[in-house]
C-alpha cells in the first residue's frame, strides 16, 4: 500500500506539469490583454507598454513560463496582476471557504441521499420509491444556479430573509459562519444529492438480489442489519466513486454558488481572475485545484481498499 501511495504521489508530478503547461498556454492563447483590461479605455500606449513590461508579458513564452515555474517550485505563485496581492496565501485562505462549503454540501447530500436511496431500494416500486425517484430526477434536472436564484427570491419575498452579508471564518465566528454557509451548502448539497440518491438506489437493489443477502436473511438476521451492515456496505464502492467525482464537481459548482451568494471562495477568485485576465491568479489557482482534485481521487482509491478487502494495491 505504501508503495502504491508513493507511486501515485510520484505520478502527481507529470500530471501537474502537464496542467501547468496547459493553463499557461491557454491563458496566452485566449484573446484579451491584461494591461488594457486594467487600465481601461483612457490609457495611453506608453502606459500600456509600461504595464506589459512590468508583468514580463513582452518576454518569450519560455522565459515567462520558467519565471512562473521557478516561483511555484519555491512556493511563490507570484502576485495578482490586478491588485498586487500574493497569490498563494490568497488561494489557501479562499480554499478554506470553498473546502468548507464543499464538505458541508457533501455532508448534506449524504444525509439526504443515502437514507433515501436505501429506502427507495427497499420499498421498490412503492409510493416512497416513486416519490424519491421523482425528487431525484427533479434534482438532477434543475441546475444549481437556477435553484439558488429561486431560493433567494422565495426566502426574500415570503420570509423576508436573505443570507447574511459579509464573511466570518469558521474559527473566528462559527455561528455566523454557519449561518452564511448554510443556504449555499444546502443548494449545492441538494443538487448533488440527487445523483447519489439514484446511484444508491440502483446499487443497493443490485446487491439485494445477490445470493449472500439471501443467505444472511436465511440465517435469520434482522432486516435492518441485513440492509445496513451488508447490503449498503457492499453497495458503497460505486457510490464512493460518484462521491469522489462529485467532490470535484462541487469544487467546480462552488464557482457559481460563491458568485451568487457573494462568498469569497476559490471559485470566485478564479472567475474574477479569468474575466480580468489576471494570468498569475488563474494559473496559480488552476494548478492548485488540479492538485486537490488528484488528491481527492487518491483518497477515494484508498477508501476502496478499506471498504472492499478484495481490493489491494500491492
Amino acid at each position: 500500500m505504501t508503495s502504491y501511495i508513493l507511486r501515485r504521489l510520484f505520478m502527481l508530478v507529470p500530471v501537474l506539469f502537464g496542467v501547468s503547461i496547459f493553463i499557461f498556454l491557454m491563458m496566452r492563447v485566449v484573446p484579451g490583454d491584461v494591461a488594457q483590461t486594467i487600465l481601461g479605455t483612457d490609457a495611453t500606449p506608453e502606459s500600456l507598454e509600461t504595464l506589459r513590461n512590468k508583468f514580463g508579458l513582452n518576454d518569450s513564452y519560455i522565459k515567462q513560463y520558467m519565471n512562473w515555474m521557478g516561483g511555484v517550485l519555491t512556493g511563490d505563485f507570484g502576485q495578482s496582476m490586478r491588485n498586487g496581492r500574493d497569490v498563494f496565501p490568497e488561494i489557501l485562505s479562499r480554499f478554506t471557504l470553498t473546502f468548507e462549503l464543499t464538505i458541508l454540501a457533501a455532508i448534506i447530500s449524504w444525509l439526504i441521499s443515502i437514507p433515501l436511496g436505501v429506502l427507495a431500494a427497499v420499498k421498490r416500486n412503492g409510493a416512497t420509491d416513486i416519490t424519491v425517484r421523482a425528487i431525484s430526477l427533479l434534482g438532477v434536472s434543475i441546475p444549481n444556479f437556477a435553484f439558488a436564484t429561486v431560493l433567494i427570491l422565495i426566502l426574500a419575498l415570503f420570509f423576508n430573509y436573505s443570507p447574511p452579508i459579509g464573511y466570518a471564518g469558521l474559527f473566528e465566528d462559527p455561528i455566523k459562519n454557519l449561518e452564511i454557509m448554510l443556504i449555499p451548502a444546502l443548494v449545492l448539497g441538494t443538487t448533488m444529492a440527487a445523483a447519489i440518491m439514484r446511484m444508491t438506489r440502483s446499487t443497493v437493489l443490485e446487491v439485494l438480489r445477490q445470493d449472500f443477502i439471501r443467505t444472511i436473511r436465511a440465517k435469520g438476521a434482522k432486516e435492518r442489519v441485513t440492509i445496513l451492515n451488508h447490503a449498503l456496505r457492499n453497495a458503497l464502492i460505486p457510490i464512493l466513486t460518484i462521491i469522489g467525482m462529485q467532490i470535484g464537481t462541487l469544487l467546480g459548482g462552488a464557482v457559481i454558488i460563491e458568485q451568487i451568494f457573494s462568498l469569497p471562495g476559490l471559485g470566485q477568485y478564479v472567475l474574477t481572475g479569468i474575466t480580468q485576465r489576471d494570468l498569475t491568479v488563474v494559473q496559480g489557482s488552476v494548478l492548485f485545484i488540479s492538485f486537490v482534485f488528484v488528491m481527492v481521487n487518491l483518497i477515494v482509491d484508498i477508501l476502496y481498499a478499506y471498504l472492499d478487502p478484495r481490493i489491494n494495491y500491492k
Partner: protein, 522 residues
C-alpha cells in the same frame, strides 16, 4: 491494515485543513491602527453604518492606477483632488480654495490650510506636486496620464500654493482636475508600500479600515475631516455582490442600504414601501461603432443609410423600458453642451431615403455584415438584435457575434470588428466625447475615422478657454460628427439606485452617484 489506512487519511485531511486555515487576517488588508478615537468610531458605527452593494470586486485602491468603477466609488471617499464639481456640474474647490489663470497657460492654486492626511500629517503644496508628477511618470502607468500631457512644469510657492504651467492652452485642464483619479496622495505612504493598491491614505471623509477580498471594504469616518459637519455616517461598508438577484434580495430584507439596479429590476421593487428607487440621467450613451476603414462602411452614405434605418425610439422603448433619452455624441445630461438631436434628419426613421443612399453607394440590394457585442451586457445584446431586425428593411443582413468581455476589449482596441455595439461615457467635458473618441489622434478613436476638418474644430475647442465660444464650436463638431456618422449614437439611459427609506441625505448626480458625505441612517 485498516487502522493504518484510516490513520493516513485522517492525517492527510488534517494537513489540508490546517494548511487551509491559515489566518484569514493575513489576507485582508487592514489599515494602520486608528490612532485617534478609533474605538469610539467603531462603537458609534454600529448605529450609523451604511452598507453599499458593489457590483464588482474593487481592482485595487490606487487612485492613480485603477480606473475600474468598483474601485473608484471606494477610493473617491478616501482621496480628494484640488477641484470638484457641485451638483450642477460647476467647478468648485476641494483642496484648493482659489485659483487663477494667466496667459491661458499658467494656473496658480491656493491650498486650504490645516488639511490632514489620514496618517496625521498636514497636506501641503509639495504633496500636490508629488502626486501630479507621479501621474505623469511613465513608470506609474497611470490611466489618466494623458490628462496631464500638456503640463510643462509644476512648482510650489511656499507651503500652500502650486503653480502649474501648460505648454499650450487646454480648456479641459480644470475639469480634468476634478477627475476622481487626479487626487493628492502622501509620498511617504506610496514609498513605504510601493504603491497604494492595498493601502489607502488620503485627505477624504473616510479612511480605510479593512478590505476582505471578494467580500467587503470597510471605511470609517475621518474624525479630522476638513469640512465641518461631514461625513455624517460613522462607517461605510462596500460589499461585493456581483449577482443582481442577490443585491435585490439583500436590499429587500435590509441587509444592505444602497444598490444600483437595472431598469428592468425597478419594477420588482417599486411597490416595496421600505425602499426608494432614485432614477438619474446617466452621462453614458449607447452606440453602434463602425469600422470606417473597411468596405462598405468606409462610405459615409452607407453609414448614413444605416442611421436612417435605425429606429432609436424602439431601442429606447424595448432595451431601456422607455427610460432614457435619445442621444448624440455628448449625452443630454451634459446640459447646454449637447445638441438637440431630435431635429436632425439622420435621426428620423426614413427607409426610402436609406435605400436610395445605399443604391447610390453601390449596394442597391444591401449587404452582409457582422455586429459584435459583449455577451455579458444584456442591453448591448438586445440592441444588436433590434438593429439586426431594423436593418433587414433595407436589405442589410447582420450576423450577431457575442463575445466575452476580455475578448471584447481586445477587439475594441485592435479595431478589428466591422460593427461594435457599446456604451461610452461622455465624460465631464465635451472634449472627451468629441476629441478623445473621434479626432484622428484621439487615443480612443478605434473607428479608423479621420477627418481633417473635424480635427481642426476639436483642437480649436480644446484651446479656446471662453465657455460660450467653446459651446458654439462643440455644437458645430457634434452636427458634423452626426452627419459623418463614424458611430451611430443611440440612447442615454437612466441609472437607478435603490435606497432604504431610513437613509437620508443621499442624492445621486450624473457625474457622481457615490457621494455619501451627507448620507445618514435615521
Amino acid at each position: 491494515m485498516k487502522k493504518y489506512l484510516f490513520l493516513f487519511v485522517s492525517i492527510l485531511l488534517t494537513i489540508v485543513l490546517v494548511a487551509c486555515s491559515n489566518d484569514d487576517a493575513d489576507n485582508s488588508t487592514e489599515s494602520e491602527p486608528a490612532t485617534d478615537g478609533g474605538a469610539t468610531s467603531e462603537n458609534s458605527a454600529t448605529e450609523s453604518e451604511l452598507k453599499i452593494a458593489n457590483d464588482q470586486e474593487p481592482a485595487g485602491l490606487d487612485p492613480h492606477k485603477v480606473p475600474a468603477a468598483s474601485s473608484t466609488r471606494i477610493y473617491s471617499q478616501i482621496y480628494e483632488g484640488l477641484l470638484t464639481f457641485d451638483k450642477d456640474m460647476n467647478i468648485i474647490g476641494s483642496l484648493a480654495t482659489d485659483w487663477t489663470l494667466e496667459d491661458d497657460t499658467i494656473y496658480t492654486f491656493k491650498l486650504k490650510e490645516g488639511v490632514k492626511f489620514h496618517n496625521g500629517r498636514e497636506m501641503k503644496a509639495e504633496d500636490v506636486k508629488y502626486s501630479f508628477e507621479r501621474i505623469i511618470d511613465e513608470n506609474t502607468a497611470s490611466h489618466i496620464r494623458s490628462y496631464f500631457a500638456d503640463v510643462a512644469s509644476i512648482e510650489t510657492v511656499g507651503d500652500y500654493e502650486v503653480k502649474i504651467t501648460l505648454s499650450k492652452p487646454q480648456a479641459t485642464f480644470l475639469s480634468n482636475l476634478t477627475h476622481a483619479s487626479a487626487v493628492v496622495v502622501p509620498k511617504e505612504t506610496v514609498e513605504a508600500n510601493g504603491d497604494l493598491q492595498q493601502n489607502a491614505d488620503g485627505t477624504g471623509a473616510f479612511k480605510l479600515q479593512q478590505w476582505v477580498p471578494d467580500n467587503n471594504v470597510t471605511l470609517v469616518k475621518n474624525e479630522d475631516y476638513h469640512v465641518e459637519g461631514e461625513p455624517k455616517a460613522a462607517k461605510l461598508a462596500f460589499y461585493t455582490m456581483t449577482e443582481e438577484s442577490t443585491r435585490l434580495s439583500a436590499i429587500r430584507t435590509g441587509e444592505i442600504d444602497f444598490t444600483t439596479i437595472s431598469a428592468k429590476s425597478t419594477k420588482l421593487l417599486e411597490n416595496n414601501e421600505d425602499l426608494s428607487i432614485i432614477p438619474y440621467q446617466s452621462l453614458e450613451y449607447s452606440y453602434v461603432g463602425f469600422n470606417n476603414a473597411k468596405a462598405p462602411l468606409d462610405d459615409e452614405k452607407v453609414r448614413q443609410a444605416l442611421s436612417l434605418a435605425t429606429d432609436r425610439q424602439e431601442i429606447l422603448d424595448i432595451v431601456w423600458s422607455g427610460e432614457g433619452l435619445i442621444s448624440g455624441p455628448v449625452a443630454p445630461s451634459m446640459g447646454d453642451w449637447s445638441v438637440d438631436v431630435a431635429a436632425l434628419d439622420l435621426y428620423k426613421l426614413n427607409i426610402e431615403k436609406a435605400k436610395a443612399l445605399l443604391a447610390e453607394a453601390g449596394h442597391p440590394n444591401g449587404f452582409d455584415i457582422t455586429i459584435t457585442t459583449a455577451s455579458s451586457y444584456p442591453d448591448m445584446v438586445d440592441t444588436a438584435q433590434l438593429l439586426q431586425q431594423q436593418w433587414k428593411e433595407i436589405g442589410v443582413n447582420a450576423t450577431i457575434k457575442q463575445i466575452e468581455w476580455g475578448e471584447y476589449i481586445d477587439t475594441w482596441s485592435n479595431k478589428t470588428a466591422d460593427i461594435l455595439i457599446g456604451r461610452n461615457s461622455s465624460g465631464i467635458d465635451p472634449d472627451r466625447a468629441l476629441n478623445y473618441f473621434f479626432s484622428s489622434t484621439g487615443s480612443a478613436n478605434v473607428w479608423n475615422f479621420a477627418n481633417a476638418d473635424y480635427d481642426s474644430i476639436v483642437v480649436k475647442g480644446l484651446e479656446t478657454t471662453d465657455p460660450a465660444e467653446r459651446k458654439t464650436i462643440y455644437a458645430e463638431a457634434q452636427e458634423m460628427l452626426i452627419n459623418l456618422s463614424p458611430n451611430l449614437f443611440l440612447v442615454s439611459p437612466k441609472n437607478y439606485v435603490a435606497v432604504r427609506k431610513n437613509v437620508a441625505g443621499y442624492t445621486p448626480y450624473p457625474h457622481n452617484a457615490s457621494d455619501f458625505n451627507s448620507a445618514v441612517k435615521e
